[in-house]
Every structure is written in C-alpha cells, then in structure tokens.
C-alpha cells in the first residue's frame, strides 16, 4: 500500500517538475503539457543513426531513468513512506547518481555524432567538477546524524534544520545538484543553441521521451535529496508530513529551474576551475566547521 503511495507521489512530483520546467523555459503555464508532448513523442519516428554503437545508444536513456529512480527509492517522503530504508542510504544516493554520468557518456558515444560526442565528454568533465561537492556536504550531514539512514538524517534535524546548521554545505550541495541534473547554468552536455542538443541531439521519438522522463525524475530526485538532507524533510507544523516533503521538494525544484533562466551557461573550464579552487576548499571548511560545532555542543 505504502509502496504504491510512494510511487504515485514520485510520479506526481515528476509531472509537476515537467510542468514547471516548461513554465520557466517557455513562460507559458500548461498543466497538460507533459502528457501532450509525451504522446506526441511516442507518435513520432524514432530514428537510429546509421552507424551507431547500438548497445550504448539503446541503453543510455533507460540507464538515466534507472539511476534517477534508484536514488529516489532511498529518500523518504514521510515516516513509513519510503521505498527502501537502506542502512547506507546517503551513500547509495551518490552511487546511484554516479550512473547519470555513465548514461550521458553512453548517449554521447553511441550515435557516432560529433555534437553528441562533445556533449558526453563534457559531462564527464562536469562530473569531475561537481562530484566532490555532492559527497563532501553529505558527509557533514552524516556527521550530525551519526547515521547514513536517510530517515535518521531527517529526524536529526528536529531541533534545527541543516540549512541553518551548515548553510555553506547547503549552498554547495544545491549548486552540485543542479550540475548533476544538468540544469541551465550547467547544461553543458545538452547545450541548446551551441551543440544542437548535445547528447540529446540524435535521440528522437520514444527514445527522446524516455530521456526527458529520466531528466525530470532526476530533477525531482536531487530536489528531494536537498529537502531530506538540508530542509528537514517531512518535519513541519500543522500540515501532514507528506505535504511538507512535497511542498519543500517542489519549491527547491522550482528555485533550481528558475535560477537557470537568469544565468548564462558556464564554460566547462570555468566550472572545473571554480569547483576545485573554491568549491572543494569550502566543502572541507564546512566539514571542519560542522566538526567543531558538534564538539562544542557535545
């Protein structure tokens, strides 16, 4: 019963993320938009390039979707509303999200197209940049909760949300989360207007629909992860817990999508340099700061 409820909520969340993305990128609010464009994509031809690496080409969209779904499976929506409350939940999120890079690299290599190839290898560079900024802030979160269970991480924030406790980690995690989901300032692998769609360039029809679905689930997943790790998950007064999770997650997703509209796309070299010269020292400082605060409290 709970299982079905969680799946339905994740599905509804994905749908709203798709509506939001449409809204911020076109300026039109169309609640039926994702259904219509999904059906349209299913009805269209799905071309296969003439000399593809067929396995990579076919597997990449599915792998993108699978990695996002797996990461979402270990994140709680409310007490009891979680698919798998793994003892290594916080680590599992990282492991699942690592496959986003594999999927995009496969999508870049598979079709044997120049733009796709550049997009795929760019995302590999992007992983080298953002990856540390995902794992290091989560470490600081785990230090406070003394557990990698995602439900324990939420309950550890009962007195004070992590966004106040470790604001530096929150900012770094949010930026890295946008980079994982290749949202606008970090949309280097797709880069509309520059790479002709990059890794998405050779995908059409139902394969593109799967890829877009995977991306939407991914945006929802990283927003949910930010909610669980930093915004107190389901904690909040009056409303039922699941409503708090849902509204916080959608607010984070909306914020991430909205910011991208007003920031120009960053260059790969800049993303790498800024992440390693400023991001990682700041993330280490965050760990040290949290360590000192915990000792001070204890």
């Amino acid at each position: 019963m709970n299982f079905v409820a969680v799946l339905l909520m994740l599905l509804a969340g994905t749908y709203w993320v798709a509506v939001l993305e449409d809204w911020v990128s076109t300026g039109r609010f169309r609640p039926a938009g994702p259904v219509l464009s999904g059906l349209a994509l299913l009805g269209r031809e799905s071309l296969v390039p003439r000399k593809p690496d067929r396995i990579f080409f076919e597997v990449a969209p599915a792998l993108l979707l699978v990695s996002a779904v797996l990461a979402a499976a270990v994140l709680p929506l409310a007490p009891g509303l979680i698919l798998a409350d793994l003892a290594t939940g916080a680590l599992f999120v990282n492991a699942a999200l690592a496959y986003v890079m594999v999927a995009l690299l496969m999508a870049g290599w598979g079709p044997d197209g120049a733009y796709a190839m550049v997009g795929g290898f760019r995302f590999l560079g992007q992983l080298v940049a953002y990856s540390m900024l995902i794992v290091m802030p989560i470490t600081a979160v785990a230090m406070r909760s003394e557990s990698l269970l995602t439900t324990e991480i939420v309950t550890s924030q009962a007195s004070l949300w992590n966004v106040v406790y470790q604001p530096l980690g929150f900012v770094l995690f949010l930026l890295a989360a946008m980079a994982v989901a290749f949202l606008p300032p970090f949309d280097l692998p797709t880069a509309p207007g520059e790479l002709a769609g990059g890794v998405e360039a050779e995908y059409t029809g139902w394969r593109l629909a799967v890829m877009r679905l995977g991306r939407a689930v991914l945006v929802l997943t990283v927003a949910l992860a930010a909610t669980v790790f930093y915004l107190g998950g389901w904690l909040g007064p009056v409303l039922p817990p699941w409503a708090w999770s849902a509204s916080k997650t959608l607010a984070v997703a909306a914020a991430m999508l909205f910011v991208g509209r007003y920031v120009p796309r960053l260059r790969e070299a800049d993303v790498l340099a800024w992440c390693w010269k400023y991001g990682i020292p700041l993330a280490l400082l965050n760990i040290f700061y949290v360590g000192v605060v915990i000792l001070g409290v204890a």
Partner: protein, 120 residues
C-alpha cells in the same frame, strides 16, 4: 524489511523501469514504423557530413583535475564510516581526519601551484 528484501526491492525497481522503457518502445513501434528515406539517419553535423570519423581519441583537457579527482574520491571512501562514528569518538576523530585532510589539501595546493588546475 530485511537488508536482503530491500536490495531485492531495488533490483525489482530496476527491472520494472527497464520493462517500462521496453514497453514504451513497443507501443511506439505499434503506432508506426520509421520510413526509410535517404540521408535521414545522418547524425547532426550542421548540414554536412562529418569531415573526420567521430570515434577518435578525444583530448580530455581536464586530465589534471581527473588525476586529483582520483585521490579525493578514494579519500571519500574513508570519510563516510568516519562521519558516522564522529560524535562517539569526539576530538580524536577530528584530529585524525584533520591531519589526513590537511595532507590531501596540501596535495591540492601543490597541484594548483604546478598548474594542474587548468584546462590543459
């Protein structure tokens, strides 16, 4: 749920997701097939055929970062167990990991000074 059941559930979700994708493909194929037309399957290259083969050695210009990334990624494997027992161990844990991270951070600074942190 036991640990084994949880992993079985996750495996089931992978299978279900793959099943969904295969079904979507089957539905799309049932709706209509692709017409074979000339030059329709050429990858997008700005209107022309790609002058060179695409599957070549790609110059990964961020290799300096990639090497540092290996060191940092290994370090994260130690960080997670450490983070879980941090409160229990207290100051000792902070000093232990502090020394380890300081050495690693010096490595980053050295790499930076030698020009590893730029697009080569």
């Amino acid at each position: 749920m036991s640990l084994l059941q949880q992993y079985a559930l996750l495996l089931g979700m992978v299978a279900a997701t793959v099943g969904l994708v295969i079904n979507l493909g089957a539905v799309a194929r049932a709706v209509g097939r692709t017409h074979a037309e000339k030059a329709k399957d050429v990858p997008a290259t700005g209107g022309e055929l790609s002058p060179e083969p695409v599957w070549v050695r790609y110059h990964v210009r961020y290799y300096g970062y990639a090497l540092l990334f290996l060191a940092f990624d290994m370090e994260m494997a130690f960080m997670y167990p450490w983070a879980v027992v941090y409160k229990e161990l207290g100051l000792v844990a902070l000093l232990d990991m502090g020394v380890f991270l300081a050495i690693l951070f010096l490595g980053l600074l050295y790499g930076w000074s030698q020009g590893a942190l730029r697009r080569q």
